[in-house]
Amino acid sequence: MIFETFRIAINGLRTNKLRTFLSMLGIIIGVGAVIAIVSIGSSAREEVTVQISSLGSDLLWVTPGFSAGRATRMESDPRENFTLNIIQYIDDYSPGVTNVVPEVSGSVQLRRGDNTLNSTAVGTSQDFTTVNIYYPERGRFIDQDDLDQSRNSVVLGSNVASELFSDGDPIGQRIRLNYQGRNINFTVVGVMEPKGQGIMGNLDRRVYIPVTTFTDKLSRQNFVDLYYAQFSPGFSSQEARNQIDYFFFQHLGDENLYNIMSQDQILGVLDQVTGTLSLMLGGIAGISLLVGGIGIMNIMLVSVTERTKEIGIRKALGAKKRNILGQFLLESLALSSIGGFIGIGLGYLGTYLVTRIGNWPLVLSPIAVILAFGFSLAIGLFFGIYPAVKAARLDPVDSLSYE
C-alpha cells in the first residue's frame, strides 16, 4: 500500500519534470550549501591544524602581557621584562620544559651589491631548529659562539638565498642589513631548507641571526618578543605550563604581565573560531533550506489545485483521506529527498573543487550529510503537511465537478 502510494507520488512528479526540478532548487542549494560549508570548514580546519602541528610539537609560548595598572604609562614597553638572561633561569627552575628559545624580530632591508630585498630578521638561539623542526640545508645554523660573541652571522631563508644569490653559493658571502636606517654587515653562514607558508607567515622569506646580535646591534634593547619552549619528555602540557606559570609569577609578581599559551590551546581557539563560523554559515544554509521548504509547499499547493479532479476520482473509487494524504505527503518527501540527494552531490563537488584549489586535505563530513538529508526530509514532511491535508479534505462531489 505504501509502495503503491509512493509510485503514484513519483508518477505525479514525473509528469512535470521541469517544474519538479525548479521546486527542488531551494532544497538542492540549501543541502549543497550545508554540505559544502561544513566540509570545506573541516577541511580548512584540518589544514590549519596540520600547519600548527608543523610548528613543532609539545610547545608552550610565553608572550608579554599588559598590567592593568601600567597600561597608562605609555613609555613602558610590555616586553621590558622579557630579557635574555632569564632564559637560563627558566631552564633551571622549570624541569618540565627544555630548549627555551627566545625570539625577537623586525623588518629589515637586505642588500647585496645592487640587489635589495625586504625581509624579516629573526633573532633567536641555536635551539630554534630542534623546536621548530626546521633545519639548515647548507652551511649551519647559529651556534653558541655566535651567541656568546654577538657575531654578525646570518642564516638565510631559502627564498632569500635564491633571490639574493641566484648566481652562486651564498655561504661565506657578505650581505648588508638595514635596520631602521642603520647598516650592518653580516656573513652568511647557512641557508635554511624550504618550509613554505606557515601560520606565522612565509618562513622562507626570513633571515635568522643570533638573538644577542639583534639585541646588541639592531634593537639595542635587551628584551625579546617572546619565548617558547618544548615540554620535557615525561611531563604533560599542564605540568609544564604550571611550572612556567609559577616561574613567571615569582619573577614578575603580576600575572597580567605575561601570557602562556600551549599548542592545544591554540587549536582550541581555532576550534572555537571555526565552530562559530560553521554555525553562522550553517544558519545561512539552514535559512536557504527553509526557503526551499516554502518552495516545495508552494508547488505542492499548485499540484493539489491542478489535480483536484484526480483527487475527486480517487475518492469516488474508494480512496480514504489517509490515502490522499499519504500520496501528497510522499510526493513532497520525494521532492525534498531527491533534492537532498542532488544537493549532497553538488555540495561534495563544491568541497572537492575548493579543497583542490586550496590544496587542502579533503575532509568529508558524514554528519553533515546525515544532518542535511534528514533536515531536508523533515522540511519535505513539514511543508508537505498543509497541502496534503488540504487535498485529503477536499469534498468528493465538489472535486469531481472541478474543471
Binding site: M1, E4, N11, T15, K309, E310, G312, I313, R314, K315, A316, L317, G318, A319, K320, K321, N323, D395, P396, V397, L400
Partner: protein, 225 residues
C-alpha cells in the same frame, strides 16, 4: 437493497439555499435495473451522489444493504464506495497519463489487493468489456465508447452489488450508447443492481423501471418490464 426515506438535500452557498431534493422515498431491490429521468436541475445527479455515498443527505434515511449510511464516517463511506458501489460518469473520469489497465487497478489499490492479483483481475475485466488488446494504452489514445468501457470495467473490478451510472451515454453517439447499454443489460443479467440517470427516453426504456424526478420530488415511478 436500497431503501430511501424522505431524503432531502439542501445546498447552502452563503445566504442562498437550494433544495435539490425535497423528500424522496423509494425502495430498489437487488437485481433491479432502474432508470432515473427528469429535466435538467431536477436533482438526478444529487440523488446519484447520495446513493453512491459521495455525499450525505441533509435529512432523511438511506439504507444500503441494511446499513444506515447517514451514520457512517468518512472512512466507512470510502470503504462502501470502494467495495459496494461502482460509479460510472458521463465524463468517463479516467486518470490521464495512466494506462487503462492501471486505471482499472485503482479501486483494487485502495482495497489492498496484491499487485499480481490486481494485474490479473484488471486484465480479466478489460477482456470482459472487449478491451484486452488496449491494456497499455493511455485514455487519450482510445475512443469515447472505449473510455466508457474502461470506466465500467473499473466500476466492476471490486465486484460491487450496485452500479450507478450518471448519464453514461450522454457523451456518446447513439450506436456506441446502445453498445454501452447492452453492457449494462448483461451486467444486470449477471445479477448486478443497476441505476442509471438519463434524459433520453430510448435509453430509459431499456431499463426495467423508470423513476421520474421533477424539482427534487418523484413525479412518477413505474415498472416497464
Amino acid at each position: 437493497m436500497i431503501e430511501v426515506k424522505d431524503l432531502r438535500k439542501v445546498f447552502k452557498n452563503g445566504e442562498i439555499e437550494v433544495e435539490a431534493l425535497k423528500g424522496v422515498s423509494y425502495t430498489i431491490n437487488d437485481g433491479e435495473f432502474v432508470a432515473i429521468m427528469g429535466p435538467s436541475g431536477s436533482g438526478k445527479s444529487t440523488m446519484m451522489h447520495l446513493l453512491g455515498c459521495l455525499d450525505q443527505a441533509t435529512s432523511g434515511k438511506y439504507f444500503l444493504a441494511g446499513t444506515d449510511v447517514g451514520k457512517l464516517d468518512d472512512n466507512q463511506l470510502a470503504i462502501i464506495r470502494n467495495e459496494q458501489v461502482g460509479f460510472v460518469f458521463q465524463q468517463f473520469n479516467l486518470l490521464a497519463r495512466t494506462s487503462i489497465s492501471k486505471n482499472v487497478e485503482v479501486p483494487m489499490i485502495y482495497k489492498g489487493v496484491s499487485r499480481k492479483e490486481r494485474k490479473r483481475r484488471a486484465e480479466e475485466m478489460l477482456a470482459q468489456v472487449g478491451l484486452a488488446h488496449r491494456m497499455d494504452h493511455n485514455p487519450n489514445e482510445i475512443s469515447g465508447g472505449q473510455k466508457q468501457r474502461v470506466a465500467i470495467a473499473r466500476a466492476l473490478v471490486n465486484n460491487p452489488d450496485l452500479i450507478l451510472a450518471d448519464e453514461p451515454t450522454g457523451n456518446l453517439d447513439t450506436k456506441t450508447g446502445d453498445e454501452i447499454m447492452g453492457l449494462f443489460q448483461e451486467l444486470n443479467d449477471q445479477g448486478h443492481t443497476i441505476v442509471i440517470v438519463t434524459h433520453e427516453p430510448p435509453i430509459a426504456k431499456q431499463a426495467k423501471r423508470i423513476i421520474n424526478l421533477r424539482d427534487g420530488l418523484i413525479s412518477s415511478d413505474e415498472v416497464i418490464a
